[in-house]
Amino acid sequence: MQFHNQVLDNGLEIIAEVNKEAFSQSLGYFVKTGSRDESPEMAGVSHFLEHMMFKGTPNRSAVDVNRELDDLGSQSNAYTSEEQTVYYMSVLPENQNAALDLLTDMMRPALRDEDFQTERQVILEEIAMYDDQPPYGAMERAMEVYFREHPLARRVLGTRETVAALDPESMRAYHEARYAPNNLTLVATGAVDFDALVQSVEKMTKHWKPSSSARSLRSPSIESEDVAMVHPPATQQYTLQYSPGPGYCDERRYVTRILASILGDDSGSRLFWELVDTGLAESAAVFTQEFEECGLICTFLACAPEQQEENWEAIRNTLAAGKQNPITDREMELAKNKICAGMILGSERPSNRLFSVGNAWTFRRKYETIQAATKHYQAVKIEDVQEEFEKLSDRKQVTVTVGPEA
């Protein structure tokens, strides 16, 4: 494995973890823009734009883009989160140039009016699809209640109203501001020819102009709150609780992730043995979500509506039992082994490595081999996990529950 990085004159950064032995390569543009960078009335524009990026460029029609992606035999896709928008493809090494040419051209889309109108319908279908899934609605609502005036409160998909109100002109302006070369990172993993990569990208992006596309960072102000929602067609009750946790630049995240695994992993955790293995709940989990300046510790319960109260009480007791029921050495060992083995197994495909390498660099400007990354977990001390556990229930909490009846 060899790591390379280079910044072009226009500010575009290129990084690669090269593994000459790999069968494939993966390429991705990581754009530092997401729902948190939108104004309230433009909510959903990052995600809508992500769809529009596949709709052609001044050099290619929408049909051309789709055909070329398939011609290259690529496995390709894109996603938008609160924090970033990522476009990626995996191809055979011999297709590096063609793949790069296509993906780079796609970063300068045509954003044609007629495509915009058709694609808006697809986005509205996507919103309707998630609206029919009650846990997803609980998640969106919990983000809104927890983050309030903070930009992370906004829905990644936007709402029916904001999506209906968006127009191509304002999307073009958003694109110009957020897709400047200094806000993009090209990430490559696997069997990559790095020199050729840099040479081609340099040529293709020479005319791209940098811009100042800052992100506003501030700590969210949190007030504890409980919200109950009714979704009549639902048959199960879903409960989601958010409380403050470390962000993705915070070194304490390893401690919190181990604690979350011990308490609420989907197998072998305390909540698993208490509620899932016993058949009391379909799911009872603790996990973390990390953003740039802050993060969340999330607790999730899915069960029959009549059992919600009792199960939730059991979860609260388990999470508040830091002093009575301290973390054991065995729990630490199992959690570390599970997390590290999962990371190593997942790293065998260049397409998975793309996200680890890309996120570590774009979030923290740090490159680590998979072995180095697992060492952070191995180094976590039981005292620190125990301390975090004891503080867990003192935090402010936002709880949202959704089910068939109030």
Partner: protein, 414 residues
């Protein structure tokens, strides 16, 4: 594409498959047992899944909790499932822990404790899982499609029924285990970083003295045309369609798979272009090949808001029927390129390779190599696909919709 597939049959009938992938650090195995939902008594629907769950609640020297802890300690990723014909157990781990991992898997299969104080817990878990599908209309739509299309025995869901789960006793699980967890008809396939000879010795040690009844024959699976609508107070209408196609073990399977690829593989595929890109009718639309023994089907899905559901169904069916008008050489070229890439990339994952090998053996009684597959795909022509289409025209249609209103489905049903 260098590839060596080892095959061996133990005297007790168990088939052992292995494909070394020495460039990986991992190994992954799949174990298929001839114990499917079609073996369940009709008043015990869900028994196969309950039995599998109970097998994982303590086995060999380990208690229920110790099995989980031991696998976590070894860093093993695992999954298990039940299908119409099989129960499967899959695990992936670092190559260095293959032996202790397989030892645990062997006790789960051969030596479960069936603790009577855990039956209720397993039952409650199964009932919750069955109930949760009610909040996932797309999945529910396919469950209903399978029931409608393949009938009472072969259309069963692994989730079972509420009555079946409620009636199941520990004795039922023990009997199901004794009658269907046996070596004749069982397959173990391993892919990743390992030595074949030492793996074979390990399998012989763990499974060599395993005995059981011989594999049983079963009645032919046939598709049953028809349609049904489930009323659901949702924004989207979920549409699941099926029609006859040749099955995985048919000599012309890849002609059929090629047609499905033209419909649904990639962003330039016809369903994606016609239903989503041109008309903006859906977020998801897809088609896939499905086989139950000799009975092959193409399954399609589209989800769209209710007022546009009829148009979505009509355009989807129209797009399928228009295959008859011909295949463009460029479409076929793209399809071949995608297949070639995915075959190369299959070498990056021990998990996907091991499950593919087990599936191949279960259906074909052999494991085709990548080279063979590639030459079969290379041999497809636009003419051969159309010829296949004319020979095996879509027929025996099934349709299930879930949503506020039923849809008209007259044109295609035959």
């Amino acid at each position: 594409m260098q590839q060596k597939v080892f095959e061996h049959r133990l005297p007790n009938g168990m088939v052992v498959l292995g494909e070394p992938m020495p460039w990986l650090e991992s190994v992954a195995f799949s174990i298929l047992l001839p114990a499917g939902t079609h073996h369940e008594p009709s008043n015990r629907l869900g028994l196969a899944g309950m039995t599998l769950e109970m097998c994982q609640r303590g086995s060999g020297p380990w208690s229920s909790r110790e099995v989980v802890e031991q696998l976590d300690f070894l860093g093993v990723e695992r999954s298990s499932s039940v299908t119409t014909f099989h129960t499967s157990l899959s695990m992936a781990a670092m190559a260095s822990v293959l032996e202790p991992t397989l030892e645990i898997a062997a006790t789960i299969i051969r030596d479960p404790h069936f603790p009577d104080d855990e039956l209720e817990e397993a039952r409650q878990s199964a009932l919750l899982e069955l109930a949760s599908i009610e909040d996932d209309p797309a999945q529910k739509c396919f469950k209903e499609l399978k029931r409608l299309r393949f009938g009472e025995v072969y259309g069963r869901s692994s989730l079972g029924s509420q009555e079946g789960l409620e009636e199941t006793t520990l004795d039922d699980c023990k009997k199901f285990h004794a009658s269907h967890y046996h070596p004749d008809g069982a397959i173990i396939s391993l892919a990743g970083n390992f030595q074949w000879e030492s793996f074979l010795k390990l399998v012989e040690r763990l499974f060599g003295d395993w005995t059981g009844m011989p594999k049983q024959a079963h009645a032919k699976v046939v598709s049953i045309p028809g349609s049904s609508h489930l009323k659901h107070d949702s924004q989207q209408t979920h549409i699941a369609i099926a029609y006859d196609a040749v099955s995985y073990n048919h000599p012309e399977y890849y002609q059929s798979r090629g047609l499905v690829g033209i419909l649904s593989d990639g962003m330039s595929s016809r369903l994606f272009s016609e239903v989503r890109e041109k008309r903006g009718l859906v977020y998801s639309v897809s088609a896939s090949s499905h086989s139950l023994d000799d009975c092959g089907s193409v399954l399609c899905y589209a989800g769209t808001t209710a007022p546009r559901a009829q148009e979505t169904l009509d355009v989807t069916v129209q797009t399928i029927l228009e295959l008859e008008k011909g295949i463009e050489p460029d479409e076929l070229k793209r399809l071949k390129s995608r297949v070639r890439t995915s075959l190369v990339m299959e070498q990056e994952s021990s998990s996907s390779r091991s499950s593919q090998m087990a599936y191949d053996w279960a259906y074909l009684g052999r494991v085709p190599t990548r080279k063979e597959l590639l030459s079969t795909i290379d041999a497809l022509t636009c003419e051969s696909l159309i010829e296949h289409y004319s020979k095996f025209r879509p027929k025996s249609w099934s349709l299930v919709t879930i949503g506020p209103e039923p849809l008209e489905f007259a044109n295609a049903v035959s």
